[in-house]
């Protein structure tokens, strides 16, 4: 058993940012995450690292209530963002998901839609914005995703005509266009080449002054490059639920890990 570590900054007055408390998650009877605790401070990048199958992605999907979409999936425990209980019964999962955006492992632009339509589809769905402002929103979102210069002359071309890295930045723009406060990124570079990866990492750093970012990665170098805080999760044996082992400033986790399991993982001896 790993000892539970006190988390930094868990004071009650610090309500901004994401806090996960005693979160457990199941697929059917199989418990995949147990007693997860995490605080991702506002406007910082927090990385979740750990070996495959340790429940990192599941934790992420519990935050924007995507986990519950899987038949038989169940969640227990608390997820608060900006002091608001994400699982409050009077809160609609759709509104949670537009406040908490998500970028997936593989770029998933909508293939039947153009670059422009992909960028604004979230806004169109929400039906809160007058049509006249859509282009402005598209430009802002695509600029923040550092894609505008590359696509401004072919906004009405199919989104799938872009390269993989551009598609992923389009997906980030698509998430940003809805004006979320928190962005969840589930291994956003695992399907990309090193140059495209570098661009996305640069972009993550750039948007961190506006958005709180939580990124799951199994690339430890990426965690050191993009994140301010890092949480290390692992499983003891195959089939066990994943747990948080250690959480701290990224420099501390990689420079002076307290837990021997963290030390073994970040030094590349296991995992």
């Amino acid at each position: 058993m790993f000892a539970a570590h006190p988390l930094p900054g868990r004071e009650a007055d610090q309500v901004d940012g994401l806090s996960i408390d005693r979160l457990s998650a199941w697929f059917g009877r199989h418990k995949v995450v147990e007693d997860m605790r995490l605080r991702a401070p506002s406007r910082k990048v927090t990385a979740l690292i750990g070996p495959s199958g340790c429940g990192k992605s599941t934790v992420l999907r519990c935050v924007n209530r995507m986990h519950e979409l899987v038949p038989g999936a169940r969640v227990q425990g608390g997820v608060h963002f900006g002091g608001v209980d994400v699982y409050a019964p009077d809160l609609d999962a759709g509104s949670v998901r537009s406040e908490i955006g998500m970028v997936f492992q593989r770029p998933n632009p909508f293939p039947t839609k153009s670059i422009y339509e992909n960028a604004i589809i979230g806004v169109r769905i929400a039906r809160t914005t007058p049509r006249g402002r859509l282009m402005e929103i598209a430009e802002t979102a695509l600029s923040r995703a550092q894609l505008w210069d590359e696509v401004k002359d072919r906004l009405h071309k199919p989104a799938v005509s872009l390269s993989g890295g551009q598609q992923q930045r389009l997906c980030i723009a698509r998430a940003i266009a809805v004006d979320p406060s928190l962005l969840l990124m589930d291994e956003p570079c695992s399907a990309l080449d090193p140059i495209a990866t570098f661009k996305i990492e640069e972009l993550i750093r750039a948007i961190a002054d506006r958005y709180t970012v939580v990124i799951v990665t199994h690339n430890m170098h990426q965690a050191t490059r993009v994140s301010d805080y890092t949480g290390f999760m692992t499983i003891e044996n195959a089939g066990d639920p994943g747990r948080l082992v250690e959480f701290g400033a990224t420099t501390q986790i990689f420079g002076a890990p307290v837990n021997p399991a963290t030390e073994a993982y970040v030094s590349g001896r296991v995992g």
Binding site: N64, M66, L69, P71, G94, S95, V96, R97, S98, G101, M102, F104, R106, N108, P109, F110, P111, T112, K113, S114, Y116, E117, I121, G122, I125, A126, H156, P158, C171, R174, A175, V178
Partner: protein, 295 residues
């Protein structure tokens, strides 16, 4: 390493390689034969119908009704062509929305037993001989309201519905989960996801499936004998009355035994194939257009 034979020689000595190459050649040949037989049969039908039909077909064939005397030359199948388009058109209007709706329910919403039951009955429906469908519509509709084009549309809709539902279901299943999740993660509801993402993505496949059902309905004759009844000599465009359809007309002209009537039957068969091909091409064209530029 005691064996010092040259690498090339070593490769040649390996019997497994030769056996695999032979096997590969045999399998390739078998597959080519299968392809040739399948395509050959299709080509034979098309060419044969084409040859028999082309000698009779003419613009006036498309605009005239058969002559009163079936042994007389000339005339055409206008009443059947128009009737087929009307009867199948109405059937499509009934079957496509219902079939697509059922498929959406099964793929996007359905859980457990009801979903299983729908799929099971859909499969049963696909397997029902269409003459039985015709007899059913005869019993519940025609005995009360009489023979009519609309009764035929109902029968054809019952034939088409499970085909549309099945192909739509399969096409919706091919829409990657990642796209649904991408939409839901933006805050979209399930229905918005279905309407804006899943259906447009699956549209070309749904159109192809719909056109297969239309083609099937165009050629159906058995259920129409018991519902539309046929009306060989007159033009009847009102689906509330008994009508003629192309399939019935081909049948009734073919069984007369008069050479001229049989010739018209061949021309009718060619017309039927042409209509199905044209409709499919048009539907595909529009399906692609919708896909590329739905700005």
């Amino acid at each position: 390493m005691t064996d010092v034979a040259l690498p090339a020689a070593r490769f040649r000595q390996r019997p497994a390689l030769r056996r695999r190459r032979t096997k590969n050649a045999v399998m390739t040949a078998l597959l080519l034969v299968a392809v040739a037989l399948a395509l050959g049969a299709l080509a034979w039908v098309l060419v044969y119908v084409g040859i028999r039909g082309f000698s009779v077909i003419s613009p006036s064939f498309l605009t005239h009704n058969p002559p009163g005397n079936p042994a007389a030359p000339g005339g055409g199948f206008f009443n059947g062509i128009a009737g087929s388009l009307i009867v199948v058109g109405i059937a499509t209007g009934i079957a496509v929305p219902l079939g697509v709706g059922a498929a959406i329910y099964v793929v996007e919403y359905g859980r457990g037993r009801l979903r299983g039951a729908i799929r099971f009955f859909n499969d049963v429906l696909i397997g029902i001989p269409t003459i039985v469908t015709g007899a059913f519509v005869y019993a519940v509709w025609v005995t009360r309201f009489g023979f009519s084009g609309f009764a035929g549309s109902i029968a054809l809709a019952v034939v088409m519905l499970p085909l549309v539902a099945r192909t739509t279901e399969e096409m919706l299943r091919l829409v990657p989960t990642e796209l649904r999740e991408g939409s839901l993660a933006l805050g979209a509801t399930r229905s918005q996801t279905v309407l804006r993402i899943c259906l447009p993505t699956a549209l070309p496949g749904i159109i192809t499936g719909g056109m297969l059902a239309v083609a099937r309905a165009m050629g159906e004759t058995a259920p129409l004998l018991l519902t539309v009844l046929g009306n060989d000599l007159f033009t009847q465009l009102n689906p509330l009355h008994r009508m003629e359809t192309l399939s019935l007309q081909i049948f009734s002209n073919a069984v007369t035994g008069y050479e001229q009537a049989q010739a018209r039957g061949w021309a009718g068969a060619l017309t039927l194939i042409a209509i199905v091909l044209i409709l499919t091409a048009v539907a595909r064209f529009f399906g692609r257009r919708v896909q590329v530029e739905n700005v």
